[in-house]
């Protein structure tokens, strides 16, 4: 697909038109994100603070919190995710209509955090694709708002017409894994002080 800068005027006009469509679609999507809160731990408290009147993420178009995944755009996983909840969040994610985005809020959702043990998923990106990781333990509401604004930026960079920039979900394989097993092992590898603990074989 030819982009802006091609010499032929018809392509130039087409590209301009596509940019206009992308701008309209992406602005609509970014400014009316409906969040699906998936709060499992203390990050959910900060999430509630973000939703409440002092910080109020309704200012950014997230007025309606969809507690049904079928009417949601962005899944916000706030808190640690035990393995027992892994099929639940996967099912919620599968039920959301496209286009859909995921914000991983806090250290535990992003990496497992301090819970480097037998019961906890080491980062929800091994379960669902994640767009924005918000660090913190828990993040302050400003942090989550910054993550939401980053997601806006990301959405506004997508394009309906460019296969590279267009967001396409990879179908999940039937074994249940979203990533290759080596990748999961690698990104779940402990770091920092925890490498001195003995590791399962």
């Amino acid at each position: 697909m030819k982009r802006v800068g091609e010499v032929q005027s018809s392509n130039y006009l087409l590209a301009k038109f596509q940019d206009l469509v992308d701008w309209a679609v992406n602005s609509s999507r970014a400014n009316s994100l409906w969040p699906m809160p998936f709060g499992t731990a203390c990050c959910a408290i900060e999430f509630m603070a973000t939703a409440a009147s002092r910080y109020d993420f309704a200012r950014f178009g997230m007025e309606r919190q969809a507690f049904s995944p079928r009417q949601a755009d962005v899944l916000i996983c706030a808190g640690r995710l035990p393995f027992k909840l892994a099929p639940v969040i996967r099912r919620i994610y599968d039920q959301m209509p496209q286009p859909k985005w995921v914000i991983s809020m806090g250290a535990c959702a992003s990496t497992g955090g301090i819970f480097d043990n037998y019961a906890m998923v080491q980062g929800i990106d091994t379960i669902v694709p994640v767009d924005v990781y918000v660090p913190g333990c828990p993040p302050r509401p400003e942090g989550l708002l910054y993550g939401i604004l980053l997601l806006h930026k990301k959405i506004k960079g997508e394009s309906l017409f460019d296969a590279v920039r267009r967001r396409e979900e990879q179908p999940l394989d039937d074994k249940g894994l979203r990533l290759a097993p080596e990748t999961i092992d690698e990104i779940s590898e402990p770091f920092g002080n925890s490498i001195h603990q003995f590791r399962s074989s």
Partner: protein, 204 residues
């Protein structure tokens, strides 16, 4: 008390701790609950302790309280890992022991004989890595992270609910058809056949 049942009784920090012989546990517990002057009618908690010293036995700990007398007592039963890890269930005395003993079974692998429904409660039922609070259990589990993720994702989150657990077993016949189908597909779900209605008396 029951002769021969108490192996040791100590008082630490003003709290009474009584060690009971394993095969006399149920007898002693019955005595503690029913004897006037004891009346420990509330089972606060059941848990277990495994010590780092491999020679020390695993202890199953019962916290009892008498609501009327406002008195507490702690009962301990020692289990040697070489023997089978099993004690009598106290579910017949305190029904509240149901989930407490299930948790001890889930985390330590201690069997409670006579428990009506002894299965895992915190980990999912197909969890195959062992008993997480045992000292021989690696902190991060026995399987690789990828295998753990795969097994977790293949678990059916609805499979653990049966009609009995949902306390609607007797309503099985009145459930909507799609709900009956969903419950029937669960691993443990068993739909009882609706009771046949009694033959209606012939109208006069």
């Amino acid at each position: 008390m029951i002769p021969g049942a108490v192996r040791e009784a100590v008082a630490r920090d003003g709290e009474r701790v009584v060690y009971i012989a394993r095969d006399r546990l149920l007898e002693a517990m019955t005595w503690l609950k029913n004897t006037p002057g004891q009346e420990f009618n509330y089972l606060v908690d059941v848990t277990a302790v495994e010590f780092r010293d491999r020679e020390r036995p695993i202890e199953v700990v019962y916290f009892l309280r008498s609501l009327e007398r406002r008195a507490d007592i702690r009962i301990k039963v020692e289990l040697h890992a070489a023997d089978d890890l099993a004690v009598e269930s106290v579910w017949g005395l305190w029904h509240g022991a149901d989930w407490l003993e299930r948790e001890v079974f889930d985390m330590f692998g201690i069997t409670f004989r006579g428990h009506p429904d002894l299965r895992r409660i915190l980990m999912w039922e197909t969890y195959a890595e062992g008993y997480p609070l045992r000292k021989s259990f690696p902190l991060r589990g026995r399987f690789s992270r990828a295998e753990q993720v795969r097994q977790a994702l293949n678990a059916n989150p609805e499979a653990h609910y049966s009609l009995e657990e949902l306390s609607i077993a007797e309503a099985g016949g009145d459930l909507p058809e799609d709900m009956r189908d969903r419950l029937r597909r669960g691993e443990r779900g068993m739909i009882p056949e609706p009771p046949t209605p009694p033959p209606s008396p012939a109208s006069p």
